[in-house]
């Protein structure tokens, strides 16, 4: 299982498509930095195909004042959880 890390939002960059295309059925996707905009209820449709395997970094949502807007389908993890995700994955791939 690969942990994919995405730091750009689907509202301005199309790199999320490349990340999704590279994901197997068991890979996970973590949204970080400006990438957390994709976790908002109004944006999360872009990540439908990885529902249940979609994570977002709490600290980055919080800094942007968006923790309350994060969709319920997204698993919110703090940076400690980010480390855990990297432990559980065989390797990580960053998309930017």
């Amino acid at each position: 299982m690969i942990l994919h890390i995405l730091n750009r939002p689907p509202s301005s960059s199309l790199v999320y498509r490349e990340a999704l295309a590279a994901m197997s059925d068991t890979d996970r996707l973590l949204l970080v930095e400006d990438g957390v905009l994709g976790a908002l209820t109004s944006q999360v449709r872009h990540f439908q195909q990885v529902e249940g395997r979609l994570f977002a970094l709490r600290e980055d949502l919080h800094a942007r004042g968006l923790e309350g807007q994060c969709d319920a389908s997204v698993q919110v993890v703090d940076v400690d959880g980010f480390v855990t995700l990297t432990e559980e994955a065989d390797k990580t791939v960053s998309w930017f």
Binding site: I5, N7, E33, V79, D80, F82, T86, K91, T92, S94
Partner: protein, 130 residues
Amino acid sequence: MRYALLVQGAPYSSQASHSALRFASALLARGHRLECVFFYHEGVYNAARLAAPPQDEPHLHDAWCALNAEHGTQLQVCIAAALRRGMLDEREASRHGKHGHSVEPPFELTGLGQLIDLGQSVDRLVTFAP
């Protein structure tokens, strides 16, 4: 586990350095070891020794140095990416006939081969890009 980070973003311009340092703290707190941070692409600017950010902002250069001092994490900078961007240590400056230098220990200029080595020798390599 043994970790290494690849930092490709310039300090202050993007969140990459902040994110990498935050991740570094968290992995160390969980008992992992951070062998090395490798700086490539615009990440080489993290080594700029003269950085003078405002006092109410994080001092990223010093935060990297603290990571080295407290945890023995190596700070390796891709020499090819660094030279064209004006990031030279004393040796490279004198080799290029330039007076003064912009990089000093604990940052080390090294070849890209070090990154490849790291990829083989550590358990996890995580990239932070702009």
